[in-house]
C-alpha cells in the first residue's frame, strides 16, 4: 500500500522534520503514529497523503511513485484513493452538512445528484442521517468530526489518514470517532492515525513511535502486550 524509503524532509527554515525515515504499511493495516510534539508526525502524514513532497527519498502509494507524478495525477490520487480527517474538521461554515460531505466527491467527477445520494449514505453510516440539513455550527465537536469522517470516506478511499482526529474532542466523542475509524478498518480500508492519546495508541494493531524526525520503535500490539507482560 505505502512505502517510504529513506525519506528526508527539510523545511525552508532549515528544520529537518524527517530524517531518513523508511516505513512500509500493508493494505488493510490499522496504524497509529505516536510521539512528542514536533517529532515529525504531521510531516510524515503529509508525505503519506501526497500533500507534500520529500526533500529526498521516495514515497510509493498504491504502486505509484509520488515523486514522478504531475499535479493532476497527484490530485487524482487524492480524489480517488485517499481520505483525510483533520483535528479541526475543516467543514465549510454555512453550508449544509450533506453538501459538506458531498464535496468529498466533487473532484472525482461525479454528478451533483449522485454526490448528494452518496453523501446521505455516508452520513447514515456515521449515525448522522437525521442531521443532513443542519449547518456545521449547529453540531457538537464530535458530530462535526463524524461529518468530516463521512466526507473522507464517501469516495471509498483505500487509504484513510487522520491527524489527531480526537484531539479536539472529549473522551466520549473521541471514542465514537475511534469506533467509526475501526469499523472502516474492518471493512478493508488502510487507516493511519496520529494520536497523542496513549490509550488510543495501545488499542491499535500497530504503533509507530517517532522522535526528532526518526522512527524509534515500530511494534505490533502483540509486541506491546508481550513487552508489558514481561515487566
Amino acid at each position: 500500500m505505502i512505502s517510504l524509503t529513506n525519506v528526508k524532509k527539510v523545511y525552508a527554515g532549515g528544520v529537518t522534520a524527517l530524517n531518513n525515515v523508511s516505513l512500509h504499511i500493508d493494505p488493510g493495516e490499522l496504524v497509529g503514529i505516536v510521539g512528542p510534539s514536533g517529532s515529525g508526525k504531521s510531516t510524515m502524514l503529509n508525505m503519506l497523503g501526497t500533500l507534500d513532497q520529500p526533500s529526498s527519498g521516495s514515497v510509493r502509494i498504491d504502486g505509484h511513485d509520488v515523486g514522478g507524478l504531475s499535479d493532476t495525477k497527484l490530485a487524482a490520487l487524492r480524489a480517488t484513493r485517499i481520505g483525510f480527517v483533520f483535528q479541526h474538521f475543516h467543514l465549510a461554515a454555512g453550508v449544509a452538512v450533506v453538501d459538506n460531505v458531498a464535496d468529498g466527491l466533487l473532484y472525482a467527477g461525479i454528478r451533483l445528484g449522485e454526490r448528494r445520494e452518496r453523501a446521505a449514505k455516508a452520513l447514515e453510516r456515521v449515525g448522522l442521517g437525521h442531521r443532513m440539513n443542519h449547518r456545521p455550527h449547529e453540531l457538537s465537536g464530535g458530530e462535526r468530526q463524524r461529518v468530516a469522517i463521512a466526507r473522507a470516506v464517501t469516495g471509498n478511499p483505500s487509504l484513510l489518514l487522520a491527524d489527531e482526529p480526537t484531539g479536539a474532542l472529549d473522551s466520549t466523542s473521541g471514542a465514537t470517532v475511534m469506533r467509526l475509524l475501526r469499523e472502516l478498518h474492518e471493512m478493508g480500508t488502510t487507516v493511519v492515525i496520529i494520536t497523542h492519546d496513549g490509550d488510543i495508541a495501545k488499542s491499535l494493531d500497530r504503533q509507530v513511535h517517532m522522535r526528532d524526525g526518526g522512527i524509534t520503535r515500530d511494534s505490533t500490539r502483540e509486541h506491546a502486550l508481550i513487552a508489558e507482560a514481561r515487566r
Binding site: M1, P27, N46, G49, L51, D52, D62, G63, H64, L69, D71, T72, K73, A75, A76, L77, R78, A79, T80, F84, F86, H88, H90, A92, A93, G94, V95, D103, G104, L106, Y107, A108, G109, R111, L112, R151, S158
Partner: protein, 399 residues
Amino acid sequence: MTSTLQRPPRMSARDVLRVGAVGLRTRPMRAFLSSLGIAIGIAAMAAVVGISSSSQADLDRTLSALGTNLLTATPGNTLTGEQAKLPVESEDMVGRIEAVQEVSALGHISEAKVYRTDKVPEEQTNGISAYATRLDVLSVTGGEIGRGSWLNKATDDYPATVLGSVAAERLGVREPGVHVLIGNTWFTVVGILDEVPLATELDTAALLGWPAAQTYLNWEPHPSTIYTRSADAHVHTVRDLLGATVNPEAPNEVEVSRPSDALAAKQAAGEVFTGLLLGLGAVALLVGGVGVANTMVISVLERRSEIGLRRSLGATRGQIRTQFLAESLLLAALGGAGGVLLGALVTAGYSAYQMWPIVVPAWALAGGLGSTLVIGAIAGLYPAIRASRLSPTEALATT
C-alpha cells in the same frame, strides 16, 4: 490493489459555477458591495448611451415629422456692417423659383414693444418681438397652435395677435382673450402657439396680421424672414439660388439657413458631452474592477484553509484557479447585469420624462456585459493564480 491512475472527468460547468459561488454565498454583503462598484460604472455608461440614443431617436422623429426641407432667408449685414434689409418684392421672387413649393414670411416690427399692461416702463421688453406674419407661416414652419386659434382672413386686419409659447409665458398669458399692448395699441390675444422647433424665433414672438401691422402700427411692410419648402431632392439647388433670388443686387447680404441642420448640430454638440460622461463611466468601471480585485485578494487570504481542504479532497491547481476566477467573473457579471438593468431603467425613466422614445441599444448592453467579463477575468487572474500556487500543507496549517 495497484491500478493505473485515471484522471477524473472534468468538472461540469454547473459545478464550476456552484464552487465559484461559494464565496458569494458565504459573504453576500461583501459580494454585493464589490459588484456594486462594477454596477455603478456599467449603469453610468449604459444610461449615457441609452439617453443619448433616445434623444437622437427623438430628434429623428422630430425631423421626420417636421421635414428637413425648410430653408430660411434672413438679412445679414451690409459691407459696412449695418443690418441689411430684404427687398419688398423678395417674397414673390422666391415664389418664382421652380423647385420651391411653399413660401411664407415674417416682417419684424422693430419699433413696437410688447407689454401686458401700460404700467411697465418702456425699457423692459421681455425679449419679445412683434412680427407681422403671413397667414401660412404656421403651416410652412410646421408650427402648431396650442390654445385658441391662428389668425385668419377675418382677424388679419384686426387688432388680434397670436403669441409664441415663450412670449405667452413671459407675459403671463395662459388663455386667449386677454389684451396685450403692442406699440401703443391694445391687441386681443386670440391664440398661443406650441414650441416651434424649426423656427424658434416664433417662440418669443407676438404675431399680427400683415395688414393689421400696417393699419395699427404704421409699419412699413418689409419681410425679415422668408420661409420656403421645396421637394427634398431640390433643397440643395434652392439653397444655392435663394440668396441671389432674394436680393439680386447683394446676394451676400442674405443669410440662408436650414433649421433642421441647426437642430442636428445641437445634437452633435451634445455628443462631445456624451463622450465625456462615457469616459467618467469607464473610470467608475475601472474603480469597480479594482474593488473586485481587492475583494478577491482578501478572499484568497481568508480562505487558505478551504483551499488546503479542497486540495486534500483532490482539487488540482487548475481547479483552484478556476474556482477563484469563476468567483471573480461571477462578481463582475452580477455587477454588470445589475448595472445594465439600472442603466436601462434610468434611460427609460429619463426618456419617459422627456417624452422621448425609449431606445436602449443592444450593442451597449452586450458591450457592457462583455466588458465586465473582461474586467472580472483581469481582476481575478492574479488572486486565482496565487490561490493555486499555495501548497496544500501551508494552506491547511492556517485554521
